[in-house]
Amino acid sequence: MKYVELHASSAFSFLEGASRPEDLVSRAKELELPAMALVDRDGVYGSPRFHMAAKSVGIRPHVGAEVSVEGFGNRARPPSWMLNAAPQRPVRLPLLVKNRTGYQNLCRLMTRYKLRETEKGTGTATLKEVAEHAEGLVCLTGGDEGVLSASLSNQGYDEARSQIEKLTTIFGAKNVYVEVQRHSDVAEERRNQAAVRLAERLGLPLLATNGVRYATGAESEILDVFTCIRHHVKLETAGRLLERNDERHLRSAQEMAKLFADLPEAMHNTSELSSRLEYTLADLGYEFPRYPVPAGETMDSFLRKRTEEGLQSRYGAKRDEGLFARAQKQIQRELALIERLHLAGYFLIVWDIIRFCREQNILVQGRGSAANSAVCYSLGITAVDPVGMELLFERFLSEERGEWPDIDLDLPSGDQREKAIQYVYQRYGQLGAAMTANVITYRDRSAAREVGKALGFDRETLDQLSSVVNSGEWRGPSDNFENHFQQVGFDLNHPLVRKYWELCERIQDLPRHLGQHSGGMVVCQGQLDSVVPLEPATMPGRVVVQWDKDDCADMGIVKVDLLGLGMMAVLEECLELIPKHYSKPVDLAQLPPDDPPVYETLCRADTVGMFQVESRAQMASLPRNAPVKFYDLVVQVAIIRPGPIVGKMMHPYMRRRQKREEVSYAHPSLEPVLKRTLGVPLFQEQLLRMAMIAANFTGGEAEDLRRAMGFKRSEERMNEIEEKLRTGMTQNGFSPETQEEIITQITSFARYGFPESHAASFALIAYASAYLKYHYLAAFTAALLNNQPMGFYSPAVLVHDAQLHGLRVKPINALHSEWNCTIEHAVREGKDIPCLRIGFRYVRGMKQMTADKIVFGRQERPFEGVDDFVRRIPDLKKADLVTLSEVGALNSLGEGMHRRTALWQVERAARSAGPLLGAIPEQKELSPLRQMTDEERLVADFHGSGMSTGPHPMSYCRKALSKLQVKRACDLARLPDGQYTRVAGCVIARQRPGTAKGFVFLSLEDETGISNVIVNPDLYEKYRKVINREKFLRVEGVLQNQDHTISIKASRVLPISITSAETQSHDFH
């Protein structure tokens, strides 16, 4: 007898199911089920994955969902004396989709009540809404969560009968199945007997299901843990909230036949119903919106005209006839392909967003493979000229691929990006556009924390465990739960601890909840809510689809990424600040292309705060690469990536760059492709071109090759392509050795490579940031500080770096600061010198509204003193006043005032004296408190604002350190390579990149700059606690001073006591 499981929930029922859809499918395959339905709680979150997995193994994937409905009463609840009485929840109707109308109805129904939700997961459909959307759907009476169980348990047989009759009225008698489940539970069996009687009386078919919540019995433990997480209880006290047994797993037809031997028709009906469910997600009905064009135009003709205009303005301005002609030809080729693929609408919609941004003065720039397209360049979507740079269009779009192109737009993070997003909503309607979801899954830290809670571990222990669980890229042999548990002093022989460990491992990668993708938007012709259910995002005014970006791509839904880039916001702010304070206009498109001092700065790796080139690894390679022109910067951005590093391309390139190795090519025919990168392939486009030249691949085939070898690689597909490559190369007369070399390069590189177009887009921003930092340091630093958090370094490091570059940074001051950091002007030797004033945004805990009131207040009339200040700004809380006093921001409010005087005065002023004494004049009172010491000032600065504008903490103990032969960062360049050296400083970054084989890189900052330390894996294990926790370190080791790249190879790491100030570090990101 055949059996189809028609009621299975996955972990996408968020904490009510314990297996991934893929695991359910593979188990179903093992059990030889011909079809299966995924029916998750209030959504089709897991359906794309379920669909893709089922398709790959030949199982028919039915679509459905359990829909929360009000009007059928609440779910049966355990008795009230139980410790953990479950909250009241309405019953859920398991609905299965028969056809596309049914699917659209299901999506719309769920969207309808989801968008009403005030609290996540609490939305319910009304009976009226269900009735309106019933067409094309089949309704089951459900298991524990269903209407039958609830009415039988709460009110008895007659009520149950009337409820089922209600269902038949809504869905029609043919579309209601009385569900029977058997989980070896006596109460359930009692209900089943009533259900059988009911079905008989009402003439409804019975349907056997197993109410599946996990693939195999073993996963019932995970479901129990999830239940505890959901109800915020411990396993020990969860009682009857937990599963009674582990019977809710997938079963074979034989098992089910045995279980339902007395009800064969219930078994038979599963196949019968399955055959009625024609719909799968293959028939999604998605259509990208059509762009509205003026009468007499088609989208193609309209696009052609806009592109033509762009060609004239962008290429025409370059006054290079050859280039113009090449561009024209390329554009014709691209447009022809776009027409053939019916993609004009997509390009026009992206163009429209760009146009909106330009009109609103929002900085926008396309990134990614779109920069390979001359059409995109002409439409103003991207800023890199693909024709001039000879970029490969096929990397972006090809006829063979049959996929939507991917255009990512970088926008300034914050309000500006929000404006663009809201424009898309407004343009396509709330139900026509939405953000893609981001499925939050359990990772090491979240698993350790939540499982620990369920098992009853205390908060302190969990905090300790979280602090040692490594969240960095590199996972060394010691980065496992076993070691982490040992580090916090767990006894691994204790069964509870072992169980904890095991559960942490098992829970990995299971979905926890749905978040929102940072910028992916999907739009749809017609109603997006009929394609996928929509939900409100946490951020007001945003709507999210139930699928993540990969699912959307798998389902053929086109997306536009509107990504927020902190540096874009910085650049945008610089464009405002520079004309105002330097009296010079600045245009990012017109920056001098090869400004020598900027490249000199880059060559010195003096790049703190610059886009893409500020990381520790970038700094280490910059002096070797020594960029002198824009293309060098493109290479620089691309080279510190897993691709070139894993593919072992970085070192050969650097050697050739430094002329220590001869430039050679695997085959002379590859020279044109690899010439720019000195014979070493660094970009994906080169790889594609290599395949095209060496093995006669077409552009599309080459891109297909890249994708086949990418992340989702299939062994079979790879072999096929490799065979084709070899055949092509043999035909072209490549020797077997050369073939081998090329194939190695391609296979190792395809996976991690970086598109040249993307690198070029980023390099543009990197150059702009370097240029602005060098020429307009005050404006750049102010903008950087106003757009934190971003980049690699903490505000304290950015400020200190700016000071080292000669910028005068003034502390927060109640009389001068604004919410943002601002530029002030000082006159030195008759010259106007811009200085930076730190803004109130850096006062811990202060709100912008309060800061604005201070600014407004002092504009009205100056503050007379602390009492006046407190009285006139009633929004200021005592904590704000204390912090302002601590960081010295109130020192200007009186003569001879120091931080402690301010603290002394605010303590009194903050206590309300009542209306009677409200108008007494300012009390000029001397404080009996002594002034803060240097150390106290440092602690107060870091505690109150996360930075200090005064001397660096290390400068206070330099004398003592010098006696210990500890060198300053600036001294290291003068020391010879190989010398045993000591350095010390504040740890500002700890890194353990995935490509560095467990090596840890530390950046130590002192008053003269940053010294770099390399810690080998063994040493790291030895000093792990010191390295991970201490804020100041002294490191001893051999100095490596090669090619102007300086670092210390640590052989000893010691904690040093410099200050108790709360300095910050950028760790393991």
Binding site: S80, E247, K258, W904
Partner: protein, 520 residues
């Protein structure tokens, strides 16, 4: 007016070593919490010098050699504190408990009023030394301070080692050198003072009074006076205790009588010493032995209680020990002993005050007597009130002590009642079940084999998979000829013709069958 304060530093540690003086010179760490979450709760100086810190897990702390571990015992700490209080009562009838250290659940200070004591016991210096000596007799190393007010005495005892006598009017000078921590102020206030750069009592005391009120309010004034040693609070005297208890948790369980008597001897010594301080004798001694549980599923401890009512009050430790030995030989504990408590009732009579307006209810003492009589009849541990537990597990109820229900307690009536009642066999009857074609066919139990006439099942349950005692079972309801005849006086019953419905189950872990009960 003079007050003395008696302070036992590292009190949790002292509570342990007072009963095990041989540990005094060793590095000790006290552990608290349930394994595997056990952490170091307190340490002594020697352990701290080795690097053991409070908050470390047991595994971390075990890395330190030469450290002796003891588990924290609240009962032991409670009796230790009572002993500390006894020391104070030897000098003054007016004794008050000191405040608990911030965030802790124990107290380590006792305060006493010395008014009039000078005539009886000599100078404050001598009194303080006497107090320290008496405390040392009951096993405590203490700091004693005498001052003109309670707060100054308490602060000085905490801040200065040994005996400190602060002459009247010199409180501010003496306390001035102490850090703010000695004042045990609320954390937020200490933070504010630290922000002001105030570190010592003298710094704090030097601030102007009005300015303090303006900034910290009336409470602030009180703390400020505290720092000056001028805070004058009245002493709220405690009542003298009506019994004396000593408790000791044993590191490893004791099976034999001899080592048990060794422990009892130590406890009796302590009780006797304390009673001697008050010139009292023992009228009755109750020994409670906490026994090890074989069945680790249940958490409540088993207690073996023996009470000796002495015809003549005595403080003779040897005699008491002898009597206890005889009693325990006659009534030995059934399992190894894990903790010992001794409660001594001095000769004072118990007094009780009844409320005028309390509703009439059974006299609690008579109720106790009745319950005791029932218990004598049905056996120990078989009297109580059953309470259902929230679990899928078998035997899911616990037996609470019977208490008279509240008059106004109402039972919810809208919850469904169960339709079938099952009488449970305790313990369950071992059985064997034969199966044919996946269904039960025969049940063998108590030497008889019955054919299964009808059945329902299987019903499966499992639970506590995360613990050391996971369980899983498969249950069947079977109808068979009755296993036992029904008790019907005067009639012979044909068992074969009478059928009954039984619940049988298979313990899936032990792989054994049992008859759990019979349906009514």
């Amino acid at each position: 007016m003079a007050f003395a304060s008696l302070f036992a530093p590292d009190f949790p540690f002292q509570a342990v070593v007072r009963l095990e003086p041989e540990l005094r010179s060793r590095a000790i760490a006290i552990l608290a919490g349930t394994p595997p979450l056990a952490r170091v709760f307190a340490t002594n100086r020697q352990a701290r010098q080795l690097g053991v810190e409070t908050g470390m897990t047991k595994v971390q702390a075990e890395a330190f050699q030469d450290v002796t571990w003891r588990w924290r015992s609240l009962s032991q700490e409670e009796s230790a504190y009572a002993a500390l209080r006894d020391c104070a009562w030897t000098i003054s009838p007016r004794v008050q408990d000191g405040a608990r250290p911030e965030g802790q659940d124990f107290s380590d200070t006792v305060v006493l009023d010395l008014a009039g004591c000078e005539k009886l016991f000599g100078t404050p210096q001598k009194i303080a030394q006497d107090l320290q000596r008496v405390a040392s007799e009951v096993g405590f190393g203490t700091n004693v301070a005498v001052a003109g007010n309670i707060s100054a005495a308490v602060c000085a005892a905490k801040g200065f080692a040994g005996v400190t006598v602060i002459p009247a009017g010199e409180e501010a000078v003496h306390l001035g050198t102490l850090s703010l921590e000695a004042l045990r102020l609320p954390f937020a206030v200490v933070q504010t003072l630290h922000r002001w750069g105030i570190r010592t009592c003298a710094d704090f005391a030097a601030l102007p009074e009005i300015a303090i009120v303006e900034r910290l309010g009336q409470e602030g004034l009180s703390w400020w006076r505290l720092a000056q040693g001028a805070e004058n609070k009245p002493l709220i005297a405690k009542d003298f205790p009506c019994d004396f208890e000593e408790h000791m948790d044993l590191d490893s369980s004791v099976e034999l009588l001899e080592p048990l008597l060794f422990v009892l001897n130590r406890l009796l010594d302590q009780v006797s010493t304390r009673l001697r301080l008050h010139i009292l004798s023992i009228a009755e001694v109750k020994v409670t032995l906490t026994l090890e549980r074989n069945d680790s599923k249940k958490k409540e401890p088993i207690a073996h209680v023996r009470t000796l009512r002495l015809p003549v009050p005595t403080r003779d430790g040897k005699l008491l020990l002898k009597l206890l030995r005889l009693d325990l030989e006659a009534h030995p504990p059934s399992s190894p002993v894990t903790a010992v408590s001794i409660l001594a009732v001095p000769t004072k009579a118990r007094s009780q005050q009844f409320g005028l307006f309390l509703p009439l209810s059974p006299d609690p003492e008579r109720l106790e007597v009745t319950l005791a009589r029932i218990q004598n009849t049905v056996g120990e541990g078989r009297v109580g009130a059953p309470v259902l537990l929230d679990t899928h597990g078998p035997n899911s109820f616990q037996q609470n002590r019977f208490v008279l229900p509240e008059v106004n307690e109402q039972h919810s009536t809208n919850e469904k009642r169960t339709t079938a009642v099952m009488r449970i066999y305790r313990p369950p009857l071992a059985a064997a079940v034969e199966f044919g074609e996946g269904r039960p066919t025969f049940l063998s139990c108590e030497g008889v084999r019955r054919q299964v006439l009808a059945f329902a099942g299987p019903w499966r349950r499992k639970g506590e998979w995360w613990s050391e005692t996971p369980w899983a079972r498969e249950e069947w309801d079977v109808e068979i000829s009755a296993l036992r005849p029904k008790v019907q006086a005067g009639h012979d019953v044909d068992i074969e013709s009478e059928t009954a419905l039984y619940r049988v189950y298979r313990d899936l872990r032990a792989k054994r069958w049992f008859v759990e009960g019979i349906y009514d």
